[in-house]
C-alpha cells in the first residue's frame, strides 16, 4: 500500500466510469485528422501523445532493459467542466467511425459534483424523464364502425384549424354585431403552434429557418402555422414585415425587446398573430427567464437593450402594484389597447394546482384571449437542475380539470385553452397533441419537438447534450457564436418545418377519420379516448380499457 500523498486523486477526482458518457475510441481506425477534437463543444476529448514502456529481457545475454514507443490517440477529459455530454458530434464528423460516446449505465458519480464552485448546475433542455409518457399511452378508440362510417383521410375535406382568441357567447356576439360593438379579435390557426423560444435562446439561423418555414407553411402549403417569439423581442425587420402576422410576440417579466416592439408599432404592415404574456413556464415554474451571459452577443444585446456578456435573469413575476390578478388584468388590457384591440392577448402560465383560479380570472376579463398552460415536461433554454427535475405539474390533468371547469360554466368555447409541455417528447407529436385536444385543449405548443425534428437538436431525456444554456450548441441551434450557428443552414431548417407540419396535418386526418370527425377539431371529444390505467381514466374522466 502506498501512502495517500503519492496518489494523485482528490475528493473530486473522477474516472471514466464516473462520467455520464464514455468515449469509445478505436485507435486502429483513427487517422488523427483532428475533426472530433475540433468539433467537440465541451473540449471533452483531446489528442494525446503517450509513451509506452516495453520491458525487455534478453535471457541469453543476461541483459534486462526497456524499450519505449510513443503513440498518439484521443483521450477523454475527466473533470466536470469537460465531461462528455454525449452529443455525438465526434462520431458524426469522424471519417472512419473511430469514435463515439456511449451512455454509462453505471450510477455515475458526477451527480454528486454538479455544484462546482458552490453553484448548482444549470442546464438547458428538458426534464430528463425517460420512458413513454401518459400522452403516449392514450388510445383513440371510438372508431366509427356501424352507422357512422370511418372517413377517408386521403379524400375527405378536413377542417383542422382552431381559434386563437376570445370568442363571445353567441347571443352576445349577435347583440354586439347589431349594435356595432367590439368583437374580440380571433385568429384561425393550425393547432400545433411553435412554442415560445426566444431570439437569444435560439441562434439567428435557427430563428430565420423557423420563420421561413412558417411562412412557407402559410403561403404555399396552406397550413396556418404560427410561432411565438419567447421573451427577447423580435428582429426589427420582422416587426415591419408582412410575416409578423405569423408571429405571436411574447412579453415576459424582463420585458426584453419591447422597446423595439413598441417603437415599431407605427411601422407595422400587419398585426401580430397574438401577444403572449408569460407568467410562468412549465420547465421551471416560479422562475423567470434566463439568458446566460455566454449568449448575450452584440446582436442580442442590441435587441434587448442591455450590455453585452451579462446574465439576463428575468424576475419570477411581473412588476405589480398590488396583486398578480391585478397585474394580469392590467397587462392584458394595456396590451390589447396598444394594438388597437385587434390582437388576441393571452397569458402563459406553468401548469399548477392553481391554474383553475387563473382561468376563472380570465373568464371574467373581457380582453383575455385564451390561456396557455405549460406542463412539467416543457423545455427551457436555461434553468437550474432542481427546477427542471422536480418542480411543476403534469399537463394532462391540469388541462382536463380546467376544461371541465369551463364546461360547467358553459364557457369552453369562449376561452381557448392551449397546452404545452412534453408534446412529442418521444416523437409521437400528433398523437400527443390530439390526445390533449380531446381532453379539452384548443391547440398545443411544441418547442423541443420542433428543435429536434426541424433542426436536429441532439438533446434527449438521458441528459444528452442539453447545453442550450451555455451557448455551445454543437448544431448551432441555441448558440450565438457565429462559428457554431453557421453550421445550421436556415433553408434546410425551413424545409424541415414544412415537412413536419405537412406530416402532422396528415396524421391529424388519420386520427380524425376513424373517429368520424372531419368538420371541426375534436376539442373535448373525450369519448374517443381510452387508457390502460384505471386511475388515470378516472382522473381524466375518460374510458378505462384493457
Amino acid at each position: 500500500m502506498v501512502s495517500a500523498r503519492s496518489v494523485s486523486v482528490g475528493p473530486g477526482s473522477l474516472s471514466y466510469t464516473d462520467l455520464p458518457w464514455i468515449i469509445q475510441h478505436r485507435e486502429d481506425r483513427c487517422t488523427l485528422c483532428g475533426h472530433c477534437t475540433a468539433v467537440c463543444p465541451k473540449e471533452a476529448i483531446y489528442l494525446a501523445y503517450r509513451r509506452q514502456r516495453m520491458p525487455k529481457l534478453d535471457v541469453l545475454k543476461k541483459k534486462r532493459g526497456n524499450e519505449y514507443r510513443t503513440f498518439v490517440g484521443i483521450r477523454q477529459r475527466k473533470n466536470m467542466a469537460n465531461a462528455c455530454i454525449g452529443c455525438s458530434m465526434c462520431s458524426m464528423v469522424c471519417p472512419n467511425e473511430a469514435i463515439q460516446p456511449v451512455p454509462n449505465d453505471n450510477e455515475h458519480r458526477t451527480l454528486f459534483f454538479n455544484n462546482q464552485k458552490g453553484v448548482p448546475t444549470k442546464r438547458g433542455g428538458r426534464r430528463n424523464k425517460t420512458g413513454s409518457t401518459l400522452l403516449d399511452r392514450m388510445m383513440f378508440n371510438r372508431i366509427s364502425m356501424l352507422t357512422d362510417p370511418a372517413l377517408d383521410a386521403g379524400r375527405h375535406e378536413f377542417n383542422v384549424t382552431t381559434t386563437l382568441g376570445r370568442t363571445l357567447d353567441p347571443a352576445e356576439f349577435l347583440k354586439r354585431t347589431k349594435e356595432g360593438g367590439w368583437i374580440p379579435p380571433t385568429r384561425e390557426i393550425f393547432p400545433f403552434v411553435i412554442g415560445s423560444m426566444s431570439f437569444g435562446a435560439l441562434s439567428p439561423n435557427m430563428w430565420l429557418g423557423l420563420l421561413q418555414g412558417v411562412a412557407y407553411c402559410n403561403e404555399v402549403l396552406g397550413i396556418p402555422v404560427v410561432m411565438c417569439t419567447g421573451e427577447g423581442g423580435c428582429p426589427p425587420w420582422v416587426l415591419k414585415s408582412p410575416y409578423l402576422k405569423y408571429i405571436i410576440l411574447q412579453i415576459a417579466s424582463g420585458y426584453f425587446g419591447w422597446d423595439e416592439i413598441i417603437r415599431a408599432i407605427p411601422d407595422m404592415q400587419c398585426d401580430p398573430a397574438a401577444i403572449e404574456i408569460k407568467y410562468g413556464q412549465g420547465a421551471k415554474p416560479g422562475d423567470g427567464g434566463l439568458l446566460m451571459w455566454y449568449k448575450v452577443s452584440k446582436l442580442i444585446a442590441r435587441l434587448r437593450g442591455v450590455p453585452e456578456g451579462v446574465d439576463l435573469p428575468s424576475p419570477p413575476v411581473h412588476q405589480t402594484l398590488y396583486s398578480i390578478e391585478e397585474s394580469v388584468m392590467k397587462m392584458i388590457q394595456t396590451l390589447s389597447t396598444a394594438f388597437g384591440h385587434k390582437v388576441p392577448i393571452y397569458p402563459k402560465i406553468s401548469a399548477s394546482t392553481s391554474a383553475k383560479s387563473v382561468l376563472n380570472n380570465l373568464v371574467r376579463n373581457p380582453y383575455a384571449g385564451g390561456l396557455l398552460i405549460d406542463g412539467i415536461d416543457g423545455g427551457t433554454g436555461a434553468a437550474f437542475n432542481v427546477s427542471l427535475d422536480a418542480t411543476g405539474h403534469p399537463i394532462a390533468s391540469n388541462v382536463r380539470e380546467c376544461y371541465l371547469d369551463l364546461v360547467k360554466q358553459g364557457k369552453q368555447n369562449e376561452i381557448p385553452i392551449f397546452a404545452a409541455g412534453g408534446i412529442g417528447k418521444n416523437g409521437n407529436v400528433t398523437q400527443n397533441g390530439m390526445a390533449l385536444i380531446m381532453l379539452g385543449a384548443s391547440g398545443v405548443h411544441i418547442g423541443k419537438y420542433i428543435m429536434q425534428s426541424a433542426a436536429g437538436c441532439l438533446g434527449n431525456e438521458r441528459n444528452r447534450c442539453n447545453v442550450c444554456n451555455v451557448g455551445i450548441c454543437p448544431k448551432g441551434i441555441t448558440s450565438q457564436n457565429p462559428k457554431l450557428y453557421r453550421r445550421l443552414d436556415p433553408d434546410l431548417v425551413a424545409e424541415r418545418v414544412g415537412e413536419v407540419f405537412m406530416s402532422i396535418r396528415t396524421e391529424m386526418k388519420k386520427i380524425m377519420a376513424p373517429l368520424g370527425r372531419s368538420q371541426s377539431l375534436p376539442v373535448g371529444m373525450s369519448d374517443a379516448l381510452g387508457i390502460v390505467d384505471k386511475d388515470v381514466a378516472d382522473r381524466l374522466d375518460i374510458k378505462y380499457v384493457c
Binding site: P149, E157, A171, Q409, G524
Partner: protein, 380 residues
C-alpha cells in the same frame, strides 16, 4: 342507418301512409324503434282546438296512470279529450304498456293569460316534470311531448306492426304533417326516449346516422343550463336542441341553422358577401358544428318543414312532391311510396350547402344555399 320519412300536405292524411313508406325503406332499420310526430291534427271523434296542448306518452302501469292524472289536475290542466287507441294485443313487443296516452288539455286560465314565452316555458317544464316523475318511479311513465297541435308516438318494434298495434290504420287521427323514423339501434341501449323525432317547445327534428361530435356538443348545450336541454339518450337529440337554440334563443332565421351546424370553410367564407359575420357566427357557435353522415329533417310550429344534409353528404336524402303535398325521405323509394303521383323529374337531392324549406302554404319548395346572401340585418 335509420330511415326517415316526412309528409306534409294541405289536406290531413293518416300517419299510416307514412308508415307504409317506412316499409319501402325497410332494409335500413332493425325494428328497434319507431317514432312518429304529427302536427296539424284532426280527430274524427273530436273537434280539436289547435290552441290546446296535447300530452303524448306512455303510462307503463296503472299506478303511473293515476299519478299522471293527479299531476295534471294539480298543475291545473283540464282534460278535454282522451284518445283511446284501438290497441291490438300481440302486435307490440313490449309488455309493460299499460296505456298509451294522447290527451288534449285546456290550459289553466292563469296560464293562458300569461305571455307566450311563459306559456311555452310552463308547457316544457310540465313535460320535464312528468318525465322526471316517471324516472323517479322506475321509468313507469314516459312523456314525449306536451304542446299544442303536436302528437308524438314512440314504440319499440317494426313500424307497420306498431301502426297496426295502435290502430293507426283506422284514420281516426289525421294530420297535415307527419314525421317518422324507423330506428337502427346503434351504440346505445334500446330506450324509448332515444327514438326520433325529438321535441322541444314546438320544434322537432329527426336524423339518420350518428353525430360523432356528440359529446362536445352535448357538453356545450348542458352548459347553457336551459332546463329543456336534457336527455341525450340519442346523440341526434342535439340537432333538435341546436335548432331550438338557433330559433328560440338566438332568434335567428331558419337558414342560420345550416350555417351553425355545417359552416362554410375558411376559403368559402372569404368569398361570401357576409363572410365576416358568418365567420363570427361560426366561431361563436363552433362547438355546435356537427359531424356525421346525416340528413336532418325538422318541422316547426307553423308547419314549415326543413331538410338539410351534413357537410359530407354521405347519406343523400330526397325531397319530392307537388303543390299542396311534399315529402322528404332518407331514401328515394320512401318519396315514391308517399307521393307516387308526382313528377319524379322534379325531385331534388340537396347538396351539402342546401337547406330545403317547405313553407306552411306548401306551394313550392325553397332551396336555399349557404352561398346565398344571408337574410338578416345582423349580417348587414
Amino acid at each position: 342507418m335509420c330511415r326517415l320519412a316526412l309528409k306534409t300536405a294541405s289536406d290531413p292524411f293518416s300517419p299510416y301512409e307514412v308508415l307504409t313508406a317506412m316499409e319501402a325503406m325497410q332494409e335500413g332499420y332493425d325494428g328497434s324503434g319507431l317514432g312518429l310526430l304529427l302536427r296539424g291534427l284532426q280527430f274524427d271523434d273530436y273537434k280539436y282546438n289547435p290552441k290546446n296542448p296535447i300530452l303524448s306518452g306512455i303510462a307503463h302501469s296503472e299506478k303511473a296512470w293515476h299519478r299522471l292524472n293527479k299531476f295534471m289536475d294539480e298543475r291545473g290542466f283540464e282534460l278535454r279529450y282522451d284518445h283511446e287507441f284501438e290497441t291490438q294485443a300481440g302486435k307490440i313487443e313490449a309488455k309493460d304498456r299499460y296505456r298509451y296516452f294522447l290527451r288534449v288539455y285546456k290550459m289553466p286560465a292563469t296560464l293562458a293569460a300569461k305571455s307566450e314565452e311563459e306559456i311555452e316555458t310552463e308547457l316544457m317544464m310540465t313535460r320535464l316534470a312528468l318525465r322526471k316523475n316517471g324516472e323517479d318511479h322506475g321509468n313507469d311513465l314516459t312523456a314525449f311531448s306536451f304542446w299544442p297541435d303536436v302528437v308524438t308516438i314512440k314504440e319499440v318494434g317494426w313500424p307497420l306492426d306498431i301502426g297496426d298495434g295502435l290502430g293507426l290504420n283506422d284514420s281516426r287521427i289525421k294530420s297535415r304533417v307527419c314525421m317518422a323514423q324507423g330506428r337502427q339501434n346503434t351504440n346505445y341501449g334500446i330506450n324509448l326516449y332515444a327514438c326520433h323525432p325529438f321535441f322541444i317547445q314546438g320544434i322537432a327534428s329527426m336524423t339518420n346516422g350518428e353525430n360523432t361530435a356528440f359529446v362536445p356538443i352535448r357538453d356545450w348545450l348542458l352548459g347553457k343550463h336551459f332546463p329543456g336541454y336534457t336527455g341525450y339518450q340519442s346523440d341526434s337529440e342535439t340537432f333538435t336542441h341546436i335548432l331550438h337554440y338557433t330559433l328560440k334563443q338566438l332568434q335567428l332565421p331558419l337558414q342560420a341553422f345550416k350555417h351553425i351546424i355545417t359552416p362554410l370553410c375558411n376559403e368559402e367564407l372569404a368569398n361570401h358577401p357576409q363572410g365576416e359575420f358568418l365567420t363570427g357566427l361560426r366561431n361563436t357557435c363552433r362547438r355546435l358544428i356537427i359531424d356525421g353522415p346525416n340528413a336532418v329533417i325538422a318541422t316547426l310550429p307553423d308547419e314549415s318543414c326543413m331538410l338539410v344534409m351534413d357537410q359530407k353528404k354521405l347519406r343523400p336524402a330526397t325531397v319530392g312532391g307537388r303543390e299542396g303535398v311534399w315529402s322528404f325521405a332518407s331514401e328515394m323509394c320512401g318519396v315514391d311510396a308517399m307521393i307516387p303521383d308526382r313528377d319524379p323529374a322534379n325531385d331534388f337531392q340537396p347538396m351539402r350547402e342546401h337547406t330545403i324549406i317547405v313553407p306552411p302554404e306548401r306551394k313550392e319548395l325553397t332551396i336555399w344555399s349557404q352561398h346565398d346572401p344571408y337574410p338578416l340585418d345582423q349580417a348587414a
